[in-house]
Amino acid sequence: MTTAEILWNTLAAILTLCVFSFLIKDNPLYKFTERLVAGVAAGYWTMLIYHTNFTDKVILTMQNRQLAYIIPILLGLAMWTRFSKNYSWISRYPIAFYIGISTGVSIPVYMYTSVFKQISATMVPFDLTYAGINNIIVVIAVLCALFYFFFSKEHTGTFGVISKIGIYTLMIGFGAGFGMTVMGRVALLVQRVIFLKDYFIALKNYFVA
């Protein structure tokens, strides 16, 4: 490694150790790292948005005289009325469009992906083979779990039993989700440890050579 690379890597290694120090307890080193990364991330994000979205959607559209973009730009500027006490209500206009567009787009998308796709995928044939019996279990478990989400009915008696099976099903799902995730998280930690190891080896080689 070159001297510059060693220096950059030293910085990265120190910051890595600072974050890990949080595991022992909150401390000034962690607080320093936390504030530094908050500032760097905000600065990076500012310039990224400026050079991409702002350039594309604001500067270029105006240069190309895409008049349709005057409206969203005016709405965007209206957000800035929040700097003033008396006119901050104007900022509700862009928020209204923002929320309105988001909700309007979401309704059919949820209807398709969360409802139709799931229902269609769950309609599987029952029979007495291994796969067929599993299909029966899947359908019954989905129905029971949906029972658990009933809000306007008391979960007592038969209904209570069914919804209990439902919440048990959900818990199996959560247990499985938890168990499956551990591998990926460990892999991330291993990457950091290997980074530190490689750094120390490089450091040793740098000073030995």
């Binding site: 908050a38 900022s91 928020i95 923002y98 059919p108 269609s120 044939p125 029952f126 809000f151």
Partner: protein, 406 residues
Amino acid sequence: MARKLLMSLFVLLLIFGTAGAQEAVQDTIGPPSPAPPTNIVVVDRPNDTGHGVLVNWALSADDGGGKDNVLAYEVYRADQADGEYVFRGLSVKGTGQYEDKDDSPRINDLPNPGFLITEKTYYYKVRAMASGGVYSEYSEAGSGQPMENWFHVGKIPILIGVIIFWVLVVYFIFMARKGTDYYVRPLAGINAVDEAIGRATEMGRPILFVLGTGTAGDIATIAGFTILARVAKLTAEYQTRVLVPVNDPVMFAVAQETVRTAYLEAGRPDIYNPDNISYETAMQFPYVAAVNGIMLREKTATNFYMGVFHAESLILAETGNIAGSIQISGTDQISQLPFFIAATDYTLIGEELYAASAYLSKEPVQVGTLKAQDWAKAILMVILFIGAVLISMNVSFIKDMVTVNL
């Protein structure tokens, strides 16, 4: 520029290379050639922006019968009936249809020869390919125009679903307005809200409300705003501070409005402090680091996590645990629910997050929508069960009805 040209040549080669290579081996004497496909009918491809047609033909007599040696069909297109026919693509044997669509007028800044112009007439010929690299004669040409469509027929089931659900919601809201009282079962996570705010007040420590790492346009985040509104109103009454660190600028503006209005409605605009809602930073993990810092240094007594969460869910919940806070979480993200279940005191699972604002508001109109959700669930469960039973008996019409292919 030269690279771009090469790239587009390469793309063209990929598309047309197949046809050229087959023509080369066509002349060799070999097995008998199959009968050509007949009756070419070209119709508009439905449900599109007007840059696609469907080419239909009657199968070759040697496809599935006769000499039974057809492997595939090649589809060719021209601008005029007697123009130059260019290879467009393949369909496997037994298929009497080819979908010819291309909606990019230009590729790599060059005019795209494959592009279909809306309402222009195109001519198609099809020929059958048999084993051994022999071809039938070309079929007679058929013609048709791509048209722009104004309604997506394939989405009709979704439209019906939306309408039925919409009607249910409006009906139950209407009934609630007329005074019908609906029962809702208690939810542990909701019942804990009051207690958790009370605890913070007793301890004289602030409350933390995290809206997650989604955007202000995510519906789960919007559900988070509605819960924040109810929580903030309670904290205003108890005169407890509520800290809302956010990572999306629009979320920041909406959260400020939400909390300010809540304090106004509680009659305490005087104690509203806009600085309690803070924009931390834009990126996921730097934001999490900042929230961790707030939890430990402000010693928040109660933490709410309501919205869209990703991998940070467990980092937040474990740090809250170290700080000894009571934690109530809710998210629609299935992958993160296990961690909230394991590490927080109460968790609103999926739909419960959306129901929470109705529970907390206790307004009859809001509760009415819960009733509509239950009815919708009941209808879906019946359809699901009957559909599954019917499909077991090889009757698929219900499954076909709910299977939407876009």
